[in-house]
Amino acid sequence: MRCVPPPRRRVVIWPAVLGLGALVASAACRPSGASQPPPDHDAPDTLVDQDEIAQAQLVRGLVPENDAPAIFFDDARILTAAGVTYERGDLLIARGKILAIGAELEAPADATRIDARGKTLTPGIIDTHSHMGVYASPGFRAHSDGNEMSGPVTAYARAADGYWPQDPQIDRARAGGITTIQVLPGSANLIGGRSVVVKLQPEARSVEDARFPGAPEGLKMACGENPKRVYGEKGGPVTRMGNVAGYRKAFQQAIEYREKMARAQQTEGEEESKGGGPSRDFALETLAKVLDGELLVHNHCYRADEMLLMLDLAEEFGFSIRSFHHAAEAYKIADRLAAANTAASVWADWWGFKAEAYDGIRENAAMLSAAGARAIIHSDSAVGIQRLNQEAAKAASSGRRAGLEISENEALRWITANAAWALGIDDLTGTLEVGKMADVVVWDRDLFSVYAKADQVYIDGRLVYDRQDAEQQPRTDFDLGHRDGDLSAPVAPPSESLPAATPSSSSAATAPKGDAQ
């Protein structure tokens, strides 16, 4: 269903509509300058119609409003991660939300206009796998709060309780365009505990200041070598057999616990009169919530055969696995993952550091996409998280080299929309669509270039990082005093002879052609 582009026209957004009515400012058809997206297995249809407006209004109800000012990004290249690319488009955000996106919009009088010519706009980048805050920098022993290694099943543990918002790594990730992360317990345990999804809010003084509103928590599970290695000489599990026995035992207990609690609730009055029902068990309560679908399962699992084993196990016990993580061999079972509707969070090129990572290949994410599965590029690293755009670029390009068609939109979804889906927040963020949270990155050029940098980062419509303005480069408390030297240090001038420095060469010669095809 091709949409004939309307003649270029200016769409006026009246100042008054910055509130409720702004939705209608979206172009009524795919805007001129926007390229037709390739058939994307899970990209929502972005044609704006009444149903969509209704849907967007629904989302608007979910997205909390704030007092963020109206900002109008004028004339940028916009990749929405929702299947639409505006070669020259405008974006209006206010009150924490995206109010309008399109070609040739007119800036409302009360909006701050940002000249974004030559820039690339994308949704804020999302990392499904981070240990920032629970494995903070410096790597002091005191900062090791990610693995509750007191037993192989610690479903009661919560990453939120170990999260240190003053971890200086957080600032560097934000400067790399990251707006949302999932903080997970480590992988020492079969069941490590609950994850927490946070936004990289500057000046957060507690995990609750940063917690993503409305995001479900996750359950961290781990397959394979790690639990075996950690507990092999501490009572087990010693083998993969022991690993699986451990999951089965835990979930069987959860089923029984859930039944017990349900019975207790039915007979509440009776029990009370007898003096006390069953006592609350935080570990089994967590697992029961998994069975109820309230918590999303994030399963560290490298090997193809093990992932299939886990899918069977989940089916047996009546829960689903939202995403496998690290999934070095996901490409071997891309079809099965697609059928199971389970995402795979993978690295672009890590491999070989342990036996279960030995078969990792560059084309993993691309092959997943090609098979219709939901691919995600994650970091698991406070270094890698700063360049998730580059990791996606490598993964996409290697796929194209192998003959797979990976659109620019699809590669972007690996670090935005798909990640949002895995975290259960895709109705709130992850794409640039009207009504969603105004989590936006302004890149200085094609974000898939090795030379790309985030010029500005917005979270909930607020500027949280500006590369050109030291005042807008938040620093956690740890950095104070320690890194003041940076401020007086000689700053290296930007190189003037970058091969991709000129817009013409970067877009024409090196930009992936994905969406234009």
């Binding site: 920098s137 410096p138 790597g139 790594q169 560097r172 290695r229 490409y331 071997k332 891309a334 079809d335 090129d349 890590w350 491999w351 070989g352 550091f353 342990k354 036996a355 030995y358 078969d359 990792g360 290949i361 560059r362 084309e363 092959m367 098979a371 406070a382 270094v383 700063q386 360049r387 580059q390 670029a393 490598k394 390009s397 194209r400 080299r401 192998a402 003959g403 797979l404 898939f448 270039s449 090795v450 030379y451 740890f478 950095d479 320690h482 890194r483 030297g485 940076d486 240090a489 000689p490 700053v491 290296a492 001038p493 930007p494 190189s495 002879s497 970058l498 091969p499 090196t510 992936p512």
Partner: protein
């Protein structure tokens, strides 16, 4: 003159670009004659200069000559491969790498990087004989442009001797080009328990090596002071004392770097700083001492108290101060291939692109004293070079063909075979 059109030669030359769905042994590559020319390329020498429409003449495993189109006429009877529009760079050199000494990091049976003895000074440990030419890591790096590596052991304060290798998969006889090109070690608290104790141990080791060389007979007669290390480890330091091999030391804090510079001056030792997280803070002192620094540009986290000053423009700041900068992917050897991304990140943070190329080619060769034969596309050097379609640092830029010792590297690795097997099984990309 025999001239091949790109179409014909590209089939073989660029075989790795879209490797056929074969599961058997690496794609056979037609042999090139002993002497051949590559013409029409934009040739980045590695020393900062760039030649347009250049010709590279290869004979055997060496570069016979580098020049312009006139060479084509002079070597009229040789095979000329026209690669107009392509970019030629030297093969990249991975510095301070563990490749060949480690197949799977977590499996100790596949790891040979460290002497298993519990002592801090292990300077005589030479892992060269353990470097595994059959390692799957070799081809994985080679087909993405890494052609040589300085292979360093780990562990202790002085870990052992460094070997320089060409990444020729399967060449058990000849992969190691030179042994003992450096003595590698680590400062920090490493083995000795405190920064000061480490420094003291290094100083005593060098002093004792000097003493031992002058008083060996006394030592053998039992008339010796207590030495910091066994005689064979002190003997291993003789080339360092003579300035024939550098001491490559992993160190990060600015204060510690100054202490190491002082130590090097005291013993007239050639020092190479590895890591150098805070080197930018003392860039002038490093430049004055003419000490190269091997950095990893993505390292910008305050990982410990020696690295509070970590910043991504370290390489650019050092280069601007006149320091010879080497860029490497330090740590895991499995992704040495990302050395070009590291170079790109350095450029994005202010380093001149040609300087970044030198940092992964000629400067690396110089740091290990191998620049007579390696590091740039110049007459007489080993013919290690890479054909690119565009900017090698870019993330969508892949080596089209890699040459090591003048021979084409089959552009196939265990990883491409895995990919092809599952592309076929899942019927992807059709």
């Amino acid at each position: 003159m025999r001239r091949l059109a790109c179409f014909a030669l590209c089939v073989g030359l660029l075989a790795g670009l879209r490797s056929p769905l074969v599961e058997a042994s690496p794609t056979p590559v037609a042999e090139l004659p002993a002497r051949y020319l590559i013409t029409g390329v934009e040739l980045h020498v590695g020393n900062g200069s760039v030649l347009a429409k250049a010709t590279l003449v290869v004979e055997g495993d060496r570069i016979l000559e580098v020049g312009g189109p006139e060479l084509a006429a002079r070597y009229g009877d040789a095979l000329a491969i026209d690669l107009s529009g392509k970019i030629l760079t030297p093969g990249f050199i991975a510095s301070d790498a563990r490749i060949g000494l480690e197949e799977i990091g977590a499996e100790s049976s596949t790891v040979d990087r460290s002497l298993g003895l519990d002592r801090p000074i292990r300077a005589s440990y030479d892992p060269a004989s353990a470097i595994n030419a059959s390692s799957s890591l070799i081809r994985v790096q080679a087909i993405e442009g890494v052609t040589s590596a300085a292979v360093a052991p780990t562990g202790g304060v002085l870990s052992g001797t460094v070997s320089f290798i060409d990444l020729v998969h399967g060449d058990h006889q000849g992969m190691v080009v030179a042994r003992g090109v450096a003595i590698d070690g680590s400062m920090g608290q490493s083995y000795a328990g405190s920064h000061a104790a480490t420094l003291d141990l290094l100083r005593r080791s060098l002093a004792d090596a000097r003493w031992y060389r002058a008083n060996r007979r006394n030592h053998d007669r039992g008339q010796s002071r207590t030495l910091a290390a066994p005689p064979k480890d002190l003997e291993a330091l003789f080339p360092v004392l003579d300035g024939k091999a550098p001491l490559t030391l992993d160190l990060h804090g600015a204060g510690e770097i100054l202490a190491a510079l002082e130590l090097a001056a005291e013993f007239k030792v050639r020092l190479v700083i590895v890591g150098g997280t805070e080197a930018w803070r003392v860039a002038e002192a490093i430049a004055k001492a003419k000490v190269p620094v091997i950095v990893m540009p993505t390292e910008n986290l305050p990982g410990d108290m020696d690295r509070l000053g970590a910043r991504m423009d370290n390489a650019a700041l050092l280069h601007r101060a006149g320091v010879e900068v080497v860029i490497s992917e330090l740590g895991e050897p499995h992704n040495l291939r990302n050395i070009k991304q590291q170079a790109g990140v350095a450029v994005a943070n202010g380093l001149d692109p040609e300087a970044a190329l030198s940092a992964i080619t000629l400067n690396a060769a110089q740091a290990y004293g191998m620049d007579k034969d390696y590091g740039s596309l110049e007459k007489g050097k080993v013919a290690n070079f890479v054909v690119w379609d565009h900017d090698p640092f870019e993330l969508d830029s892949w080596a089209e063909q890699v040459f090591i010792r003048g021979r084409r590297v089959p552009m196939v690795s265990r990883q491409t075979l895995l990919r092809d097997r599952y592309m076929q099984r899942l019927e992807l990309g059709k």
